[in-house]
C-alpha cells in the first residue's frame, strides 16, 4: 500500500485510490463538488479539489491523481487557495443565493466551501448571470432549480447507475447549460416516484420532490 505525506501527515491508501478520496477518508478536507466514487474516469469538472504535489509545476486536481508512494502533498498553499476561491466565486456568481428558502440550507456543499475558504456567499466584483427560468417543472415528480445547480453531473451518473440509462441529461451549452428531463413524460420504465437517488446526491439542493398540495410560494 502506498504511503505518502499530506500536510505533513502520513497517510496510507490502497493502490488505485484517488488522492482526493484518500485525503477525505483521512479527515483532510479538500473542497470538491463533482467527485463521486464510481465515475470513471472522474469528470474533473468542478475545478475545486486542487492540491500541490512536490515535483509538479502547478497545482493539480486531486480527483484525477492516483496515490503513489512517497508523494508529498500540500492542500493549503496560497496558489491552491486562490484557485479554489476564484472557482467558488465564479460558481456563486451564477448561483441564486437564497439560502433561507433553499432545502439544502445548512447541508449545502457551497455553504460549506464558502465557510472553509472564507468567501462571502455574495462575492463582489463579478457580474451575476442567472438563468431566466427559476424552476423547471417539466418532470412529473421532480422540480429542478437551474439557478442552484452547479452542473456537477452526479445526478446524471446515479440515475444511470440505478436505471441503466439516465433520465437526466445535460442540455445546451456554456452559460445556458442545464440539466434537463426531456422526454420523461412516459415514466413506465422509470421509478422516479420511489427513487430519490438524484435528489439525495445533489450537493446543492437543485433537485427537489415536487411540492404537492399547497401552491408553492416561490412560484412567480
Amino acid at each position: 500500500m502506498p504511503k505518502f505525506l499530506v500536510d505533513n501527515k502520513e497517510i496510507e491508501a490502497k493502490q488505485g485510490t484517488t488522492l482526493l478520496k484518500a485525503c477525505l477518508d483521512n479527515e483532510i478536507y479538500i473542497p470538491n463538488l463533482c467527485y463521486l466514487e464510481g465515475i470513471d474516469p472522474p469528470s474533473v469538472s468542478c475545478r475545486m479539489c486542487f492540491v500541490e504535489i512536490e515535483g509538479e509545476r502547478q497545482p493539480v486536481t486531486s480527483c484525477s491523481v492516483l496515490v503513489k508512494d512517497d508523494m508529498v502533498v500540500k492542500t493549503d498553499t496560497p496558489a491552491v487557495r486562490q484557485l479554489q476561491r476564484t472557482g467558488l466565486r465564479l460558481l456563486l456568481s451564477v448561483h441564486h443565493v437564497d439560502c433561507k428558502n433553499c432545502q439544502a440550507n445548512k447541508k449545502c456543499e457551497l455553504q460549506r466551501m464558502a465557510k472553509f475558504l472564507k468567501v462571502g456567499l455574495k462575492p463582489k466584483g463579478l457580474e451575476r448571470h442567472l438563468r431566466e427560468i427559476e424552476i423547471d417543472r417539466s418532470h412529473p415528480f421532480l422540480d429542478y432549480y437551474p439557478n442552484r445547480c452547479v452542473l456537477c453531473g452526479k445526478c446524471v451518473h446515479v440515475c444511470r447507475e440505478k436505471n441503466g440509462q439516465s433520465a437526466l441529461t445535460f442540455s445546451k451549452r456554456g452559460f445556458d447549460t442545464v440539466i434537463s428531463f426531456y422526454g420523461v413524460r412516459d415514466l413506465s420504465t422509470l421509478e422516479c416516484e420511489n427513487c430519490s437517488a438524484c435528489i439525495d446526491i445533489c450537493p446543492v439542493g437543485a433537485l427537489a420532490l415536487k411540492v404537492t398540495g399547497a401552491e408553492d410560494p416561490t412560484t412567480a
Binding site: Q165, S166, A167, L168, T169, F170, S171, K172, R173, S180, F181, Y182, G183, V184
Partner: protein, 177 residues
Amino acid sequence: MNDELTPEEKEALKDVASKLGSFEKQRGNLIPILQMVQEKLSYLPTQAIKVVSEHLEIFESEVYGVATFYNQFRFHPPGKHPIKVCLGTACHVRGGGIILENFERKLGIHYGQTTPDREFSIEKVACVGCCALAPVAIIDETVHGHMAPSKVEGLLMRIEIEKEMEERARIKDESCG
C-alpha cells in the same frame, strides 16, 4: 411552440423512420441520424427525437442533450419569413443585440424560435459580410443595413401588408375568374 406536425411533415417523418433502418444501432450514429432527420424535416420535432431514441434504444433525454449541444440542430420549424440578426463584431458594437431584442419583443419569441403561425422565425448569425452597414438584419433574402429599433416594427408591418395585399388580389382574382 406549436407541436402539431403539418401533413407534409408527417410524411417526411415516415420517410425518416424507414431510412433509420440503414443506420446501425450504435451510439456513434446519433449525430449522422439527427443530421439526416433535419435534412428531411428542416428541424427536429419532438416526434422525430422520439423515433430516433427508439431506434438507438437510448433515452430521449440523451438524444436531446446531444442535439442541444450543437448549433446546427434546431428545434423549431423555420418560419415563412426567417429573420436573421447579425451579431458579428461590428454589429455587436453598433447595437445588434438591441435589434435582436426588439424583434424578439415584437414577435413574442426568442431567437431560435418560430411564431405559432409559422410566419416568422428569429435567428442570430455571426457576420453576413457587410459590416459597413452595421447593424444588419436579413429578412427573407433582403439585407437591411443601418438597422434601428424604430425600423423593426415598420419592417414587420410591411410584410403583413404585403401578405394582406396578396390575399386581396387572390380573392379578387377568384371572384373575377
